[in-house]
Amino acid sequence: MDLAVFLVQCLNAVQYGLLLFLVASGLTLIFGILGVINLAHGSFYMIGAYLAYALAPWAAAHLGGGFFTALLIGLVLSVAFGYVLEWAFVSYLYHRDHLQQVLMTYGLILVFEELRSILAGDDVHGVPPPSWLAGSIPLGHVMTYPVYRLFMSGVCVVVALGLYAIIARTRLGMAIRAGASNREMVQALGVDIRFLYRIVFAAGVALAVLAGMIAAPVSSVYPGMGNQVLIVSFVVVVIGGIGSIRGALVASLLVGFVDTFGNVLIPQVAGVLVYVLMAAVLLWRPEGLFRAG
């Protein structure tokens, strides 16, 4: 592998890692602050992709906007959806043990997947990227790098910075940080914990939906697309340390690199590498790389 190829592979790894981060950050927030294992998180990613597929043509026809209008509508819808979902289902789970959370969110996966089948059918669909992002940049003689992928990474970086700013700098962020470690304390500070939870869950859903929407043009939309993302995201969250946004970022990039170079260098065992990584990290640090708190 010469240097140029190595650098391109690094770019691939970072780019994949950043997309994983977008899904995993929502999962780790919900996990860390609400204490809920949300198996349905992959479904939110799928819902995002199908929203992009359904909304982009509609937005173009009725609002004159394209991809970004659709993105905006999708985000608003997903926040509302997350808010309602928390109220209707998830809020019952705070006092239950992990097992029942697993059970209920597993039930939600089945429901979402079937609703998808009834509403959108079982075919594979493509979503065109916005025209001004459809070009690509030459890399060496043979290969080019699509601009849209760079755009995706850009969005992920912006989201990562935004999350950092919110959690480190704002009053809401302070409440979130405190809420993760000490619920009573937050209530003593005069923050309505129920409202806080609802906001965090809605934000987590919105992050996954956003990931699905911006990934749709490169991944296309198809049945069962959420499950695959779910397991990898869990691995990311566990490696990073539950509840830690910083951990999720580091772990996503780590998984991105291991997966990318594993597929190229040792394809025979590529399937298990990510899990070996996870097991190794947990044996070294049984609570993940960065403990929330």
Binding site: D123, V124, H125, G126, P128, R149, S219, P223
Partner: protein
């Protein structure tokens, strides 16, 4: 002693009852069991196969071999670990005369096992696992579709003839991919080329970017890819987005571009693939079939619908020979073996191992069609390695 006599009487009575039941059977309906994916990734394929099958039966006035047809359905969920139980639903609960299924290779392996053990007639309308008409072949197991080897071999031959000497293959690490690549390698070698690198990634991952970079670094004469469904769409789009399609032609079996062109859009234009079916075939039967299908189901047929349709034709040929009497199993099978199936894909016959001996077409993506370019290999038969029949 008394107990013995009673048992004997009971057996006699049961026997008499069975015979009476069998007699009544001749006038009753033929029971056809669909074991197909109705949920999950392959649901669209399952529906197309069932539609195709029903269309043929409908054309025959709802009858096969003079008997009306009654359908039973089981969702196989593309789940091999439940396949034996699901198959038993049709075989032991519904007592079907024939099972039609399925799409997933792992599931079909389990189905073949049950079919063999219970001597149930099985027609496979898609799954291309080599073993079904290889080591697991049996008189009561038929396939109306293809073996993974067939389109692969044909594509290898075409690639070699087009001057590809060094080819890189890429597929998920699973049996169907391995078999397809194996067929491709054989075809390519027979035409003077060779596979220089086999790339794989774990099923069902779709993060192809690293492997595309690897392809660009290897600079082969061509690439052969085996993916299906969502993976096929994403691979073809990623390949084009990486700019590789401009310098390195991408070949594949037809599944790479079948039923996925709307989603693949511009990325797939001009691609060459091989399959036993194509758009724009100059086959009168195909034109009639397409018109009927579109009229009945308000959607265009695909290769899966054709395979379902032909499964019904094969069964129809067998039932016709025995006038609907499924108890004459040997005659029924003999008739199916000898049948000339007037398929929309062009007429085909069956090999000794019960796999179609068929023309494999070379197709080119034009707009939303896999347009026929010519015949890649005429009357190609699967080598049926390991079949002792």
């Amino acid at each position: 002693m008394k107990f013995r006599r009673q048992t004997f009487a009971a057996v006699l009575a049961a026997g008499a009852f069975c015979m009476a039941a069998a007699g009544a059977h001749a006038q009753s309906k033929v029971k056809v069991g669909f074991m197909l994916p109705y949920t999950g990734t392959y649901a669209a394929l399952g529906n197309a196969i069932e539609n195709g099958f029903r269309l043929y039966v409908q054309e025959q006035g709802g009858k096969l071999g003079g008997r009306e047809v009654e359908y039973f359905k089981v969702d196989d969920e593309s789940e091999p670990s439940k396949a034996v139980d699901n198959m038993n639903k049709l075989v032991k609960r519904d007592n079907v005369d024939v099972v039609v299924g399925t799409v997933h290779s792992g599931v079909v392996m389990a189905m073949a096992k049950v079919a063999k053990d219970t001597n149930t007639l099985l027609v496979v309308p898609n799954a291309g696992a080599g073993a079904v008409t290889g080591p697991m072949c049996a008189p009561n197991i038929f396939r109306s579709s293809f073996s993974n080897w067939q389109p692969g071999y044909a594509m290898g031959k075409v690639a070699g003839e087009k001057g590809a000497k060094k080819v890189v293959t890429i597929t998920w690490k699973y049996a169907a991919g391995d078999e397809s690549v194996e067929g491709f390698r054989e075809g390519l070698k027979s035409a003077g080329g060779d596979v220089v690198k086999e790339l794989t990634l774990p099923f069902p991952n779709v993060e192809f970017q690293a492997l595309l970079t690897e392809i660009a670094a290897t600079k082969p004469d061509a690439v052969y890819a085996f993916f299906a469904g969502g993976g096929a769409v994403k691979f073809v789009k990623d390949y084009a987005a990486a700019g590789l399609n401009k310098t390195i032609p991408l070949y594949g079996p037809g599944f790479l571009t079948d039923g996925t062109l709307e989603a693949q859009g511009a990325a797939a234009q001009g691609m060459l693939t091989t399959l036993h079916y194509a758009d724009g075939l100059d086959v009168p039967k195909d034109k009639a079939f397409r018109a009927d299908y579109t009229k009945t189901y308000k959607s265009a047929p695909d290769v899966y619908a054709v395979q379902g349709y032909d499964a019904a034709q094969m069964l129809g040929a067998g039932l016709l020979a025995v006038k609907g009497d499924v108890s004459k199993r040997n005659d029924l099978i003999a008739a199916m073996e000898k049948a000339h199936i007037d398929s929309p894909r062009g007429a085909f016959t069956l090999s000794k191992a019960h796999n179609p001996v068929q023309d494999i077409y070379l197709r080119k993506v034009v707009g939303n069609e896999n347009h026929v370019e010519g015949v890649a290999v005429k009357a190609l038969a699967d080598p049926a390695r390991g079949c002792k029949m």
